[in-house]
């Protein structure tokens, strides 16, 4: 039996994730945000003219929009202190050997090259603002699958990028979408041609090393008719004493009869403001599946949105959020039913402890064009102590009379009777609690590939250590 640790752990040892490298970046933009900085970033990135224009327009939108008036307070965020572009001392490569030692070590520790060998069909690795590594299996290339960094895509597939880029999440959507439009850098581009099934998942890993920096990667995925893909996104950062900002943007286009699974295990450090925007447009008979684990960051606002645009389009959302000391994690989902017979299942679990604040926020909208829409929401919240907060704020906005909408939510703590039952079987209290918490997130864990499920269990265990008994 493991030694019982009764003392309360002030801040979690996240060693694996916390090792920070020396900042070897070759270029950093000035902190803050001006048209000059945006122009400078654009120039360094060799943007085509239209992209430079796009960035500058986005900046205008950014300046015209207010900070959100709902949700967690973003007062601590001072854009003047944020460095929006940090270029690492590395060129994009297709070989780990060519990645600079310290950066490669980081990804080694995170197990990325290892996973690439065994269970992934392709890997992208971003370090600060730029992608340093990208590769995809040969046979997929032969089938016409494109998996590359956004910068390369902008050169090699400019027409596709131009057609889709920030059309689903327009800069005017909200202040941080606009910010993203102005200073975006890095991210992944995936194109799966009609009828192609990508058997092994593709994974992009985003690592933010520099202190006081922002990461604004853009992920654009297009899954054509009757094609399928599993995409995994991982993110982490070492802990710094200054605020880091993550305002990524994910745009997913799921065409007729296509299927896309988008899995995320987010484990940013506790100085991160994670204001990420994710959206999927799903056409007829298409399926989007979100699997979302939120463990890290200081403040998170994350509500992946599914626009069910074609008849019979479907959304499955599974999410777990674990808010601990000093964290305010505002997560959830939204679904817009815009066509007949569309359906959605939202299933979430939130856990809060040690003063952490977890909020489930969601929207289900059924438009007039969506008769026979079906949506079922189930969210459960577990509170491990009374220092914490757990709030549930779902909104359902339903037009028409042919919708079938069900929503259920529960809030509470681990039941004493369940603990008694397990301890009566010889299991000690600490393990019994851990088992119950793991069981609580099991519906999500079982949706993840094995190694990610293990990572999630590991994160849960790290969080639980020292809080019991």
């Amino acid at each position: 039996m493991a030694e019982k640790k009764k003392t309360y752990v002030e801040d979690i040892e996240r060693t694996l994730y916390d090792i920070k490298n020396e900042d070897h970046s070759v270029y950093k933009s000035h902190s803050g945000l001006t048209p000059e900085i945006v122009r400078d970033i654009s120039k360094r990135k060799n943007d085509p003219e239209w992209m430079t224009e796009f960035r500058l327009k986005s900046l205008e939108v950014y300046n015209s929009l207010e900070l959100p008036t709902w949700g967690p307070s973003l007062e601590e965020l001072n854009m003047d202190d944020i460095v929006t572009y940090v270029q690492p001392d590395a060129k994009m490569t297709g070989s780990w050997e060519e990645v600079p030692e310290d950066i490669k070590d980081t990804f080694d520790r995170l197990g990325i090259p290892e996973a690439e060998k065994t269970s992934l069909g392709g890997v992208g690795a971003q370090y600060d603002s730029e992608v340093v590594y990208h590769s995809i299996q040969e046979d997929m290339v032969k089938q016409g699958v494109i998996y590359t960094d956004m910068e390369t895509a902008l050169v090699e597939h400019e027409d596709i990028v131009k057609e889709y880029f920030m059309t689903l999440v327009p800069p005017k959507d909200h202040k941080f979408a606009a910010l993203h439009g102005a200073v975006w850098s890095g991210g992944s581009f995936v194109y799966v041609p009609e009828g192609v099934h990508v058997e092994m998942p593709l994974q992009s890993y985003f690592r933010l090393n520099a202190a006081g920096a922002g990461q604004f990667e853009h992920t654009l995925i297009i899954v054509e008719k009757n094609a399928s893909l599993h995409f995994i996104e991982g993110c982490s950062a070492p802990k710094h004493n200054v605020t880091n900002l993550h305002a990524g943007c994910v745009e997913l286009f799921v065409k007729e009869g296509a299927r896309l699974r988008y899995s995320t295990i987010e484990n940013w450090s506790r100085n991160m403001m994670n204001l990420n925007t994710k959206r999927a447009l799903v056409e007829k008979d298409g399926i989007i599946e979100w699997v979302s684990g939120s463990f890290g960051s200081h403040i998170s606002c994350l509500y992946p949105c599914s626009v069910l645009h074609g008849e019979n389009a479907r959304c499955e959302f599974t999410g777990v959020t674990f808010a601990s000391k000093g964290q305010n994690l505002d997560t959830g989902a939204s679904v817009i039913h815009a066509a007949p017979h569309t359906s959605a299942n939202i299933n979430t679990r939130t856990i809060s402890k040690a003063g952490g604040k977890a909020t489930y926020r969601s929207a289900v909208k059924v438009t007039k064009n969506a008769p026979f829409a079906k949506c079922s929401v189930n969210c459960e919240s577990l509170m491990l102590d009374n220092l914490s907060r757990s709030d549930t704020l779902p909104v359902m906005d339903i037009e028409g009379d042919e919708a079938d909408i069900g929503h259920e939510a529960k809030i509470g703590r681990i039941s004493d009777e369940a603990i008694f039952y397990l301890t009566s079987r010889g299991i000690d209290e600490e393990e019994a609690r851990a088992m119950i918490v793991r069981g609580f997130v099991e519906p999500i864990a079982k949706e993840l590939p094995l190694e990610y499920a293990l990572e999630m269990n590991n994160l849960v265990n790290i969080e639980l250590e020292g809080t019991m008994g």
Binding site: T69, W70, G71, R361, A363, K365, K368, P371, S381, M383, L384, D385, N386, S388, R389, S390, D391, T392, L393, P394, V395, M396, D397, I398, E399, G400, D401, E402, A403, D404, I405, G406, H407, E408, A409, K410, I411, G412, R413
Partner: protein, 278 residues
């Protein structure tokens, strides 16, 4: 709009595009507020019926002292051309009970706020609401139960039917404040939608700053159970009659709580008439 004012707001705001944060009412409606005060003394039990037929603004403040019990029935059958707001604030003391039954069936624009402060340990609140919207009616409800005492027990049950071009927003909040150890809370809304032109918003909020609580909420929005309708129609009812019966059955648990037979019969007849027109 300039001719609107904010009457009430939900305890925690959300995305603006959803338009559920605030309850707007026609400007100037609250200029003349009719105020009622209800005091229930320690150990006393009171039953009060507010039978409302006039539009405008109504404010009710009720204080239920320790061990007291208040049975409050609020029937809003205001004329169809008027707007009606109500703001009801209730304080529930230690071991005190608040039984509330409301029927929001009149007025072209209804805005109702109910705030129940369960301040006392072992306090109890049982809130049952019925709303009915047809034509172009607008119904905005904002019910908030704050559970502050230890071992409080709250139940919020809302049943509704919407037809015609009715527009309704129901916001129901259970707020477990720090220290509300051992409290339980349940909130359910069941809506029947009978027309394609209805707009229906439901916002079941649950807030918690206490782990030792047991909170549930559930919402179900949908058209009628086809099996039920089929069963009734196999017994000779036509679709409209069968629908009427199913709606009535859904309302029954709320109506059953009204022990004033005269008023109950009147509400029944009123709903019947409205349903037949729909």
């Amino acid at each position: 709009m300039l001719n609107e004012e904010i009457f009430s707001a939900i305890p925690m705001r959300t995305w603006r595009w959803l338009k559920v944060n605030e309850v707007p009412v026609p400007a100037g409606l609250s200029e003349n507020v009719q105020t009622e005060k209800i005091l229930v003394e320690t150990g006393e039990s009171k039953s009060i019926v507010l039978d409302r037929r006039e539009g405008g603004a109504l404010e009710v403040q009720a204080h239920i002292a320790d061990g007291g019990e208040l049975n409050l029935i609020y029937a809003q059958l205001v004329g169809e051309e008027q707007a009606a707001t109500s703001r009801i604030k209730v304080y529930v003391g230690k071991g005190a009970k608040f039984n509330y039954t409301t029927v929001e069936a009149g007025a072209k624009h209804t805005a109702a706020e109910l705030t129940v402060d369960m301040a006392g340990d072992d306090s109890f609140a049982d809130v049952w609401g019925l709303y009915f919207g047809d034509g172009g009616r607008k119904i905005d409800l904002n019910y908030i139960i704050r559970q502050q005492g230890k071992r409080t027990d709250a139940n919020m049950q809302v049943r509704g039917a919407l037809l015609g071009g009715a527009e309704k927003t129901f916001r129901g909040t259970l707020d477990f404040l720090e220290g509300s150890k051992g409290s339980v809370g349940r909130e359910d809304e069941e809506v029947m939608v009978l027309s394609d032109h209805v707009q229906n918003r439901s916002v079941p909020i649950m807030l918690s700053h206490e782990d030792d609580v047991d909170g549930h909420h559930a919402v179900s929005i949908g058209k009628m159970d086809e099996e039920k309708l089929f069963y009734l129609m196999s017994r000779g009812l036509d679709l409209a009659e069968a629908q009427k019966l199913v709606v009535e059955a859904n309302f029954q648990p709320v109506l059953d709580r009204i022990d004033n037979d005269e008023l109950k019969a009147e509400i029944d007849a009123y709903l019947q008439r409205r349903l037949s027109n729909g």
